[in-house]
Each structure stands twice: as structure tokens, then as C-alpha cells.
């Protein structure tokens, strides 16, 4: 182990290490971040939700979007898997269906970054009591 020699070194080290705690740091304060819930029930997994989620996570960090990804159970839209719910702070959640890698990119660049709506929106017919 090379020794840390200065404050600048220590800060550089912190920057490098910070990503290892990313998942935990974001969880401290999820309301202020973009929350993306991916439906990962049998139907979602079979339709490739896991690959899309991985792709989207990479893309989000590439674009510098602070987003929390969680998996959830079946949202009831098995006909439109993979589905995911995107909650931008201060806005109502929107559910997107038939999300493949391209649409995932679109959701991030168009909807999350610029507020434009993209194809594949499923009208939300549920409410969460968890407020």
C-alpha cells in the first residue's frame, strides 16, 4: 500500500472510492433522485427486464444521472414487459412498457433529462398508499 501523502491525495482517493458506496449513499435520500422501478417478476425476467435494467444502469451513470434502480414484482402489465416505472422528483410516476435498450436510452435522454414524453407510456391505473 502506498501511503497517502496529502489532502489532495486523500480527496482523489475518496473520489475514486465513492462509487463503491453509491448504492448506499443514494438510498439515504431517494426522494430527491430519479427512481426507476423495474418489474422483475417471471414475466419481466422472461422478456429481458434484467438485461434492460443493467443496460439502463450503465447508461444512467454514463450520462451522469443520479438514479436509484430498484426491482419490483409484477405490476400487472404482463402484456407489455419489460415495464418500468420512472419517478422524477416532483412529478407523478410514469410507467413505460415494451422497454428495450433503445427505449431505455430514450427514456433517460428525452424524458428524464428533457421532460419530453416518449413512446410506450402505459396509463397508470394504480395508486400507492405508501406516502
Amino acid at each position: 500500500m502506498t501511503k497517502v501523502k496529502s489532502l489532495a491525495d486523500l480527496k482523489a482517493m475518496r473520489e475514486k472510492l465513492q462509487s463503491t458506496l453509491d448504492v448506499r449513499e443514494k438510498a439515504e435520500n431517494p426522494e430527491s433522485l430519479v427512481q426507476i422501478k423495474v418489474a422483475m417478476a417471471t414475466c419481466g425476467i422472461a422478456a429481458g427486464a434484467k438485461q434492460v435494467m443493467e443496460h439502463m444502469m450503465n447508461k444512467a451513470s454514463e450520462l451522469g444521472i443520479a438514479a436509484v434502480f430498484t426491482q419490483t414484482g409484477c405490476m400487472g402489465y404482463c402484456h407489455a414487459e419489460p415495464t418500468l416505472e420512472v419517478r422524477v422528483p416532483g412529478k407523478d410516476p410514469i410507467v413505460f412498457g415494451h422497454v428495450d435498450n433503445n427505449r431505455a436510452d430514450e427514456i433517460l435522454t428525452k424524458y428524464v433529462q428533457n421532460g419530453e414524453l416518449v413512446e410506450g407510456i402505459i396509463p397508470v391505473n394504480y395508486e400507492t398508499i405508501d406516502k
Binding site: 497517502v4 501523502k5 496529502s6 491525495d9 486523500l10 472510492l17 458506496l21 426491482q71
Partner: protein, 298 residues
């Protein structure tokens, strides 16, 4: 995803280490070992309902988890994204399960200052502390401030002792700094004897690096090059973790000779107490550490 499992004394005594092992094994079996990180943390402060398993980023808070529950948590929650309701914390008032720690009354009003890293980082890995800004205050003191400025800052902060007397910390440091001596020592009083009081233990077990850093800052301010931690021998886990932190800090050049490339050197040793209540008192503690009877100076 990160799985945080409490490795504090309370949860450890109710088998949390077996839970950790089961997580490793089952995740491996499912091929998820690279996607899910398993971290042994310090105390979550909820020992009553231990062992605690917390899943991040959704803050799911599982209580009284048994080693045989691990398979269900992995198969249901980590693979399929469905929480295991029976293991969630139950609100004692309405008997409802609470989905995550953000909605638990116990945590709602908490603002953690001293214990900010406890239950969040792996206390046996200094890199997690550094990732949270650990040792930056020490680095700042050594590179940008004189000892007098450090003391002035302490006074301005209004920080006081937490032992009951509430003695102003800045004033204490100033008095020590003015005192002339060949060798000065920083003593960390980690003797804790009041029934049911475990705050020293929590911080030593959950975030030992903050103690190491704080002692070094104090040493710089008062002109001491040696630090001693008086800790009771009944705290084996706290002792282990503190030793690990001290060794790792030495390796990284954050403790020992010429800390962070400066002229300042500081090192820490442990002294064990036998658990006498009175040895938490300053003068009795010092008597005990030099090998005399642990009685206060009258």
C-alpha cells in the same frame, strides 16, 4: 444491490455471522455474487430486534432474521424483487409491517451525527471510511491549520464533552496545549460502565476510524505524539475493530511517522481495563493505566 448485515455484538450473538456466510453461499449458488455485495456493518441501533438485515437501495429492514431465512430473502427479494413480509419490521402500534427503514418511527426523528457511519460502512475496511470523507479533517488540520487554529475552531464549534459534565472540548485542548511536558498523551476514554449504555461500544464497533482520526487531530492540537485508548476488556469486538482500524490507518500513512507527508507523527496504543465503574473517571483511569489502583485523586 447491497446487503448490509449487522455485525455488532448484539446481532453477532444471535448468529448474524452465520447469516453472512449463508448470503455468500447462496448468492454464489445463484451466480449473483458480483451483482449483490454483502457487507458486515456496525450497529443499526435496533439490537432488540436483531439480527438485522438491511437491503439497499430500497432500505428494506428485516428484523430477527434467522440463518435459514436467507434463502427466502435471496430467492424472493434479490431475484424476484418481492419483499419477504413476515421478516419486515412490525409497527407495534398497528401491527403492520413497515416496508423500509425510512418509514419506521424509530428512525424518522433521528439525525445521526457521531454515529453517521455506523450501520452504513464496513468498519473493517478503511476505504469505506475514506469514501465517506474520513481523515479529511485530519488532512485539513495538518496542511492548512496551525494547532492554535484547530483549538480556536474547536472552541468556536461549541463542542462539549458528552459524559455529563459537558466540559467545553476547545477549552480542555487549550489547557493541555499550554501545559509543558516532555511527552504528552491523548487519552480516549472508552470505558463505559453505566447499565445499558453502549454508545462507546457502538461507535468503536461501527466506525472505529472516526476515533482514530479524532485522536490524531487532538494530538496535533495539543502537541502529543502518543495516544492511548482505555477500553474495557469486556469489549472484545470493539477492541478487534479498533486494532484493525489502527493498523489500516498506519498502512495508509494516516497514523504513525509523518502523517500525510507532514512533520506530525502520532500513534495509538490500547490499554485494557477490567471493567471497574470508577475507572471511567479521569484520574482513576489514569492511575489504572500507569499500573496503580484505580481510585480517583481526592
Amino acid at each position: 444491490m447491497h446487503v448490509l448485515i449487522c455485525g455488532g455484538t448484539g446481532c453477532k450473538s444471535s448468529n448474524s455471522l452465520q447469516i453472512i456466510e449463508n448470503f455468500h453461499n447462496i448468492l454464489k449458488e445463484k451466480g449473483l455474487q458480483d451483482e449483490v455485495q454483502v457487507i458486515k456493518t456496525g450497529c443499526f441501533g435496533f439490537c432488540e430486534k436483531g439480527p438485522i438485515v438491511k437491503i439497499m437501495p430500497d432500505n428494506t429492514f428485516y428484523t430477527q432474521v434467522k440463518p435459514e431465512d436467507v434463502r427466502r430473502i435471496v430467492e424472493e427479494h434479490l431475484v424476484k424483487g418481492r419483499k419477504v413480509p413476515e421478516l419486515l419490521y412490525m409497527n407495534p402500534e398497528n401491527k403492520e409491517h413497515v416496508s423500509d427503514s425510512k418509514h419506521m418511527d424509530f428512525y424518522k426523528k433521528q439525525i445521526r451525527i457521531a454515529l453517521r457511519n455506523c450501520g452504513f460502512v464496513d468498519p473493517e475496511n478503511i476505504e469505506e471510511s475514506i469514501a465517506r470523507g474520513g481523515y479529511e479533517a485530519l488532512a485539513k488540520c495538518l496542511s492548512e491549520m496551525t494547532p492554535e487554529q484547530v483549538i480556536a475552531e474547536m472552541k468556536a464549534s461549541g463542542l462539549r464533552g458528552r459524559g455529563g459534565a459537558g466540559f467545553p472540548t476547545g477549552l480542555k485542548w487549550e489547557l493541555c496545549a499550554k501545559n509543558k511536558a516532555d511527552q504528552k498523551y491523548v487519552i480516549c476514554n472508552a470505558d463505559e460502565g453505566d447499565p445499558g449504555a453502549f454508545m462507546d461500544r457502538s461507535i468503536l464497533e461501527g466506525d472505529p476510524n472516526s476515533i482514530v482520526e479524532a485522536m490524531a487531530i487532538c494530538g496535533y492540537a495539543i502537541g502529543a505524539t502518543k495516544g492511548l485508548v482505555y477500553i474495557r476488556a469486556e469489549y472484545p469486538l470493539a477492541i478487534d475493530r479498533l486494532k484493525i482500524a489502527i493498523n489500516q490507518a498506519r498502512e495508509y500513512g494516516l497514523l504513525g511517522e509523518n502523517i500525510l507527508g507532514s512533520d506530525f507523527s502520532f500513534d495509538i496504543e490500547l490499554r485494557y481495563g477490567a471493567g471497574a465503574f470508577v475507572c471511567g473517571e479521569e484520574t482513576a483511569l489514569i492511575h489504572c493505566m500507569v499500573g496503580q489502583r484505580g481510585v480517583p485523586t481526592l
